[in-house]
């Protein structure tokens, strides 16, 4: 920009600003492109690209062995051109108008398609900065490389666009600084996906509750005296005995936080988890409620002790309980959750209604509707030796205001029933029926739990056939539903399962801890049925939902108290992730490299969300569970599947209206959109500082309070975030021992300087040049905002006549911070100091022969300045008595100081005095008013 500013003397300054780039609009630049603006980085990447096959440029056969993706060049379309190997990059450019397209072409862009306001182009990477400044260019986006990937789920949840491995390091949202907690079957800590590029472990603590040995470090609140704790040092020294022999935890951990390095730095992107730079806290948990609670408590406490935000994954849970969030475990989860402590859990694998098979496990009715019955079928089986091994159990919850008689009818028509308050054990030819309808209302929710079991004890035959559950209302006051679930069913050595029939469905089957208010509950959808394993292409053999549809096993909500669950749905069938070397794994599940394997389950969906939480916490470490739920709710992907209802064809007439949210929640996880909703860290704004010397005033006087504008500063924010100017530095000098350097707002902006508010001030203590840093109390510039400032000297009046003052702007002293990106000192400014023109002051106005620095006199001295040395200089009292003759002991000079003492060296009293000077042919009589006694300080 050409300065249009005119100053006091209207000195034209255009073109004299030292080293300042022209300030103009700059397009948004894709974060993945920013490394390309660094010449060194360009050279490094060009070398990588030059070695790459051209595979990324042609369609890939899905069965083809994938070409390793070498970091950033594997994500953004790039090639090299010419013998010099200049790096080119593929772009999608958003433009304001067609004129910008021509400008792009003129700037060397090879334009491809122009679709609406989007242009595809290949451009020299070295030109990115210039392209970004072309007027009308709004956004530069790197063209993503379309590739076949095994770890589809990262694409499906749109985590791929938010972070990238550039061949040596991660960029973008990676979970850095956040802890991912894995409470599960453990973790293969030797797996390369959980080690940094330097080989060190990313596990900051691992507690195996099953082993004995060193105990876990106590937290601020709890001490646990069992299990075996492995520190990072233990793991790095190969002295951690923990092994994940199940493999579930390692798979889960890989999805949430694996970094893909197991297969080497050139293949990282194939099996990367969501948060590849998060650290991990791991508990190999004993599978009981008390040990699970202790595991979660320890991880939460440990993360807090480490001062780190935590995304804790629980891909496990309970199949019994009130399912309304009031249970002890759910209460504890709510208690442990908080700012920066987020718990994520799988909803469970209890099925969805569009697949009405043996997984139907729930039924519901309403007392007000009268008696209702529900059928279930026990298949043919061979009786077990232990009659209790052939069993089906139902858990019932009904409103405390109602009273139900619960009956069970056998296939032979015989029946047992228990009214409220009764425990009935009834043995018949077709098995034993136990009905516990004698339990007190639960004090937390006032509802009544009851249990039903049918087993083979006392039976003369197997239990095969159609059974019926019968609910007869004795009191119907609540108007609410009762529910029952089938948490356990197994018959015979083959563990055949009873199948829910008429009236059964798979709603309300989300289990604890996913039912807790604060816990983020995650369901599962299908991303593939088949994959290329080490033994060829294989497929899951269970039901074939459409890819993209809800997984058949994904538990449906809502909770029993009608809250929507799941909170989000993520890929869960089939997910390829890290494999524990210590787990037995079917060959057909192993994929190329044998270090990763495919699994289905909401267990596999949950860590996608946990990883996503880690990315959110990276930039927003104090987020609350409710805030994260709101964000994923607002940004979830909706498609043709997420509007399905999956209504069971045989559902009870008492069931509530079917809505898609009972299975899908808000929809499918979209990490990119969620992060955008939270607010990306801003593209760091640049503050452009232009400094120009102001023309010296014609007759600058140095009397007390006089202000000498020296430099003008124009500060402009280029970017989308506010910038706080923390300090500006100057060098100042001049023979005024008490002068101050001021930073003033220039109210007029471009135009004559109009000093306004003082933003900062600093003393310039000595005559020698001194660095003075000014710290504006509040100088925050909004995006694209411009501030005009003036650096000025404020005189104390102590300067002699014809004194020279200098001020120089020191660019190295400038300190700024972007208030969203928190990037500091992103400043574009002159490289060299900018000096103001020296200002020579006078104390005499034109035509004056005499001046004094202040009158009334408040300091302990007064300075007289003369146009030439006086011939007479004396002070009198008003009545004519001589106080002191200043020339009695001194040679007259142009500058004389009276220290307010009389001839006897005693301080004079405050009051009026008369000074008489004879300067040349002029006699000056000046009335002095001393308002402060001498010696009283200045």
């Amino acid at each position: 920009m050409t300065p249009t500013r005119r100053f006091l003397l209207a000195l034209a300054l255009a073109g004299v600003l030292p080293g300042v780039a022209a300030a103009q609009e700059r397009a948004y630049v894709d974060p993945l492109l920013r490394p390309l603006m660094d010449p060194v980085e360009r050279e490094r990447l060009a070398a990588i690209v030059a070695r790459m096959p051209v595979a990324a440029e042609r369609p890939l056969d899905p069965e083809e062995r994938p070409t390793p993706a070498p970091g950033l060049p594997g994500l953004i379309a790039m090639d090299v051109e010419g013998p010099a190997g200049a790096l080119r990059v593929g772009l999608l450019i958003r433009v304001r108008d067609r004129g910008a397209v021509e400008s792009l072409r003129a700037a060397g862009a090879e334009i491809g398609a122009v679709v609406g306001d989007v242009v595809t182009a290949r451009v020299p990477a070295s030109e990115l900065e210039r392209l970004a400044r072309i007027p009308g260019v709004l956004r530069l986006q790197g063209a993503r490389v379309a590739r076949f990937m095994h770890n589809l789920s990262m694409d499906r949840i749109r985590a791929t666009p938010v972070r990238a491995w550039d061949g040596e390091r991660w960029r973008g949202f990676t979970g850095e600084g956040v802890i991912v907690g894995i409470v599960d079957t453990g973790l293969d800590h030797r797996h390369g996906d959980f080690r940094r590029a330097d080989g060190g472990t990313r596990v900051v603590g691992l507690w195996d509750q099953h082993l004995s040995g060193p105990q876990p470090p106590p937290t601020a609140t709890d001490t646990f005296r069992y299990g075996h704790f492995c520190s990072p040092a233990d793991i790095d020294a190969s002295e951690c005995p923990h092994r994940d022999t199940n493999g579930h935890g390692t798979h889960v951990g890989g999805t949430a936080a694996g970094n893909g390095l197991e297969l080497g730095p050139d293949a990282v992107s194939r099996y990367t988890g969501v948060a590849p730079e998060a650290d991990l806290l791991v508990v190999a948990v004993i599978l009981t409620e008390d040990r699970l609670l202790e595991a979660v408590t320890w991880v939460v406490g440990r993360a807090r002790d480490l001062g780190r935000p935590l995304a804790l994954n629980l891909s496990l849970g309970f199949t019994t309980g009130p399912r309304d969030g009031t249970g002890d475990f759910d209460r504890a989860m709510n208690e442990l959750s908080g700012p920066g402590t987020i718990i994520v859990a799988s909803t469970g694998n209890h099925g969805s209604n569009h697949h009405p098979w043996e997984l139907l496990k729930h039924g519901t009715g309403q007392a007000a509707l009268g008696p209702m019955s529900f059928s279930f079928d026990v298949p043919a089986y061979s009786a077990s030796q232990n009659c209790q091994q052939d069993v089906t159990v139902f858990e019932v919850w009904y409103p405390g205001q109602d009273r139900l008689t619960i009956g069970v009818r056998r296939p032979d028509g015989t029946r047992a029933a228990a009214a409220y308050g009764e425990l009935v054990v009834d043995t018949g030819a077709v098995g034993r029926i136990i009905i516990e309808n004698d339990l007190d209302p639960d004090p937390d929710n006032a509802d009544i739990p009851a249990w039903i079991a049918v087993d083979g004890c006392g039976a003369e035959t197997t239990l095969t056939g159609e059974w019926r559950l019968e609910f007869t209302p004795d009191v119907a006051e609540s108007g609410r539903r009762y529910h029952f679930w089938m948490p356990l069913t197994r018959f015979g050595p083959g563990q055949a399962r009873a199948r829910g029939g008429a009236g059964f469905d798979n709603r309300y089957v989300v289990g604890s801890p996913a039912t807790a208010d604060s816990v983020i509950a995650v369901g599962a959808y299908v991303i593939r049925h088949c994959w290329t394993s080490v033994v060829g292409t294989v497929c899951g053999t269970d039901d074939r939902e459409a890819v993209g549809d809800l997984a058949v096993f994904s538990s449906g909500g809502p909770t029993r108290d009608e809250r929507i669950k799941p909170d989000i749905v993520a890929p869960g069938k089939w997910v390829i992730s890290s494999r524990s070397a210590d787990a037995e794994v079917q060959q057909a599940l192993l994929v190329e490299g044998r270090q990763h394997w495919a699994l289905p389950g909401t267990s596999m969906a949950s860590p996608h969300m946990a990883g996503a939480v880690a990315l959110m916490l990276q930039e927003h470490p104090d987020l609350l569970p409710g805030q994260i739920k709101a964000v994923v709710d607002a940004t979830a992907i909706q498609d043709q599947f997420t509007s399905r209802t999956y209504e069971a064809p045989t559902a009870s007439p008492a069931v509530p209206p079917v809505v898609p949210e009972h299975w899908w929640g808000p929809g499918k996880l979209d990490v990119d959109a969620a992060l955008a909703e939270l607010g990306y860290p801003a593209d760091p704004a640049t503050i452009i500082v232009q400094v120009q010397p102001l023309p010296p005033p014609e007759a600058p006087v140095s009397r007390r309070g006089a202000v000498l504008p020296m430099l003008q500063l124009r500060l402009h924010v280029e970017g989308d975030e506010p910038v706080d100017v923390l300090s500006l530095g100057f060098e100042a000098s001049g023979p005024d021992p008490e002068m101050r350097l001021l930073l003033l707002r220039d109210e007029a902006g471009p135009g004559p300087v109009t000093p306004g508010d003082t933003l900062a001030a600093g003393q310039v203590p000595a005559q020698e040049p001194r660095v003075v840093r000014l710290f504006p109390e509040e100088l925050v510039l909004q995006p694209q905002d411009t501030a005009w400032l003036v650096a000025a000297l404020e005189m104390s009046g102590a300067a002699p006549h014809a004194a020279t003052f200098r001020v120089t702007y020191l660019p190295g002293q400038t300190r700024t911070v972007g208030l969203e990106s928190l990037v500091t000192n992103q400043v574009e400014q002159p490289e060299a100091p900018v000096a103001a023109a020296p200002v020579r002051t006078t104390v005499l106005e034109p035509g004056e022969v005499f001046a004094l620095n202040e009158n009334p006199i408040r300091s302990n001295r007064v300075i007289f300045t003369f146009v030439e040395p006086p011939r007479r200089a004396a002070i009198y009292t008003p009545d004519g008595r001589l106080v002191i003759d200043l020339l009695e002991r001194r040679t007259p000079t142009e500058r004389m100081i009276w220290d307010l003492r009389n001839r006897q060296e005693a301080p004079v009293a405050p009051g009026a005095y008369l000074a008489i000077f004879e300067i040349g042919e002029v006699v000056v009589r000046e009335r002095l008013l001393i308002v402060r006694p001498a010696g009283g300080g200045s």
């Binding site: 599978l287 475990f329 899951g540």
Partner: protein, 106 residues
């Protein structure tokens, strides 16, 4: 067991106390409020090996025969047998792809 104490136990725990008094069981104890040091000492004195204390929920292990003493404490509202957690690894039935349209990860 005193009726007041028995009423604080859930049925599975009551059955374990009666059938296997020497067994060590995991429990979740609900207290009137977050237990202070003195109350924790009373829990320990009643035989509970305290695990986690989260708000008004305390996890721990205890020999079943000592459960009545634990339940008799006036600030203990309920004692519940810790639930088991199903083995987390899911069934994985797979077979060779016979369908030419098999959806290999697309």
């Amino acid at each position: 067991m005193a009726p007041e104490a028995a009423a604080k136990l859930d049925r599975p725990l009551r059955e374990v106390v009666e059938a296997s008094p020497d067994s060590v069981v995991g429990v979740l104890v609900r207290t009137r409020a977050h237990p202070e040091a003195g109350e924790r000492a009373q829990l320990s004195a009643a035989g509970l090996s305290i695990g986690a204390v989260v708000g008004d929920v305390v996890s721990g292990r205890i020999v079943a025969r000592h459960v009545p003493e634990l339940a008799a404490l006036d600030f203990v509202l309920r004692v519940r047998l810790a639930r088991p957690i199903p083995e987390p690894r899911p069934p994985t039935d797979v077979g060779p792809a016979s369908d030419p349209d098999s959806q290999c990860g697309s």
